[in-house]
Amino acid sequence: MRGAFWREAFVGRRPIRTFVRVGVLVLVSVVVFGWVLIPVRTYGDSMLPTYRSGSFHLVNRVPYLLRQPARGDVVAVRLAGWRVVYVKRIVGLPGERIGFRDGLLTVNSRPLDEPYVQERARWNLRETALRPGEFFVVGDNRGMPIEAHEFGLVRRERIEGPLLF
């Protein structure tokens, strides 16, 4: 009697159907969270104040199958694989010239309005021309020294997708 209760509680009246359901659920989860919506946790202060260190996000790999990355997108940049990625903002597109002048980001020698940046150190970097298929990515925290901040040119193939949230 007791065994029958537990059996029904765990596998239901139709065990095969329950197994299939569990299998499908596991398969869908593996596909969705392994290839489509990739969970990432950020470490470091380079994306402050937009993202705090230790925050959890999902990277959506679908949008860039349909369109090119756009300026302002916060994206995941792949290193050797998926376990560690850079989270940065796209500020420069192929064909543009990107630089910094006294902390202000310049695109083709014109300052870019960046409401997401709250602190600015006096970064200076002469303009760099982006080749086809190259994007310029940088974090939102410009208050840190330029030497301590990971940013720069990245190939399109490295950009996996925008952060969903």
């Binding site: 470490y43 290193l79 040119l153």
Partner: protein, 170 residues
């Protein structure tokens, strides 16, 4: 035999067969697997925290077994290459992993065999440490390519740090 019981046995058999196949594929011994184990062992030695100078010497001696005599390190970002195991170990001994302890880990490792005596590993190396004031976890990551050569054992002959983000020079 009731149909549902027979069906459950079929499902269980398929699941068991799939598990055995996966385990065999995952744990089957190969040179690529040996190289992965070598990388795990290297990280373990680097992460050791010797209590005294003798321990530090032992750690350096252990580290020397992972590299060929003429190992080359290419740090990237415009920095010059480091040639030779002695020079590399001398630099490593300056980071004894005490005071502000760190943990080296190799993740996303892929190994490509290039014949019987040579192999290439592509991976991300992470160095994590905790801030002494806030206890916040800091993680530095670099993409790395390692060239392995087999002499008596697999040893690293070249370490190239890859600039995933190409930083323009000021």
């Amino acid at each position: 035999m009731p149909a549902s019981t027979q069906g459950a046995r079929v499902v269980a058999s398929v699941a068991l067969a799939a598990t055995i196949a996966f385990a065999a594929w995952h744990f089957w011994p190969s040179e690529a697997r040996r190289i992965r184990h070598k990388l795990d062992a290297l990280a373990a030695v680097v992460n050791e925290r010797p209590a005294d100078a003798i321990g530090q010497i032992a750690r350096t001696a252990q580290l020397s077994k992972f590299f060929t005599d003429e190992v080359v390190v290419e740090p990237g970002r415009g920095a010059g290459a480091i040639h030779g195991r002695e020079r590399l170990l001398a630099l490593a001994s300056r980071a004894p992993n005490e005071g502000h302890p760190y943990a080296l880990e190799f993740v996303d490792v892929s190994v490509a065999m290039e014949g019987d005596e040579s192999a290439r590993a592509h991976l991300t190396a992470t160095l994590s440490s905790r801030d002494t004031d806030t206890a916040e976890l800091n993680v530095d990551a670099r993409e790395v390519e390692l060239q392995f050569r087999r002499t008596d054992d697999w040893r690293i002959s070249r370490i190239a740090l890859i600039d995933t983000l190409e930083k323009p020079q000021p």
